[in-house]
């Protein structure tokens, strides 16, 4: 079976992640959707790396993982700060902040 199939799989996962970001109100679940999209992109990088037969794609996927880890730390800290301020992590409520 060709590695191209993994690109299809990554497309499906990316769409599911995007749907989660668009549909869910819970900030943590929406954030997990972002993580799923990042991982889908990683899967395409690794699949293309296998197709080309070079390792650069894997190095790039590794960098994406490191950046994603840093992003998760800051993102979750922001979610906790918002929760402390508003006692809620619903994504709808910050929109009510505008005067």
């Amino acid at each position: 079976m060709s590695p191209v199939n993994f690109v299809y799989l990554a497309s499906v996962l990316f769409a599911i992640g995007a749907a989660a970001v668009l549909l869910r109100r819970n900030a943590i679940v929406a954030f997990m959707g972002v993580e799923l999209m990042l991982n889908a992109a990683n899967l395409t990088l690794v699949a293309f790396s296998r197709m080309i037969g070079e390792i650069n794609g894997q190095i790039m996927a590794f960098f994406v993982m490191v950046v994603a880890a840093a992003e998760v730390v800051v993102g979750l800290a922001i979610i906790i700060a918002v929760f402390r301020a508003r006692q809620s992590i619903s994504l709808d409520e910050p929109s009510e902040l505008k005067g």
Binding site: N5, S11, A15, I16, A19, I55, E71
Partner: protein
Amino acid sequence: MISPVLFWFVAFITVIPALALIFSRRPVHVAMAVVLVMVGLAISYVALDAPFLGAVQIIVYTGAVMMLFLFTLMLVGVDKRESLKETITGQRWIALALAIGLGALLISVVSRLTFSVSERATVGEPTEVAGWLFGDYVLVVEVLGFLLITAAVGALVLTHVPRLFPKRTQAEIQAARIAAGADPVNKAFPGFYARHNALDAPALDPEGNPIEDSVSRVLRARNQTIDGSEFKDDNKARRRELGAKEDDA
């Protein structure tokens, strides 16, 4: 080449749990489903000749990132349910249509292209990856080090809460206790000076009388204490032996 059984297995344990992101009500269930997705992706990395990335995926994503999500869920309350009230009418269906459209678009674009698959694969073993990371990409690695430190400091700053009241010192706490009428010294330990060195036997004061306060309130409420009277008589006899007057006791 990759075996079809492995591909379909990976597809099954990534796509089905990923749907929990859209349909599951409880955030903890979503987090556990995403853990399964990450494990499936790790399997696919190993199948795609990237064993190092597979291991990193397990360690970083299932081990660190998803556990961090679970800790955050614990902090903000596991039972927080989402409100299903739509603030923008029809937003749910528009979002679903957009997501399905995006998936269809991606799949159709990929299916129109022809890819040449190289027979020769560079296996991403740790030595090979390390050679690239600390060779050609060493500057990027250093920048990522800065990024990680900045992220850690940023998280500390964001979650820091300034103290509302000045910290109370031990002396202040003690003064407050005395002012509230507490005994300035410790209560006697149960069993102290008594015959039975046990929690249920009250301590005896120098007169030989049991000190009720020395026994835990819980034991007293359950009537599980020895009242100490048996020691009292014994004590009287002992004191008589020592030549004390009867009326002293």
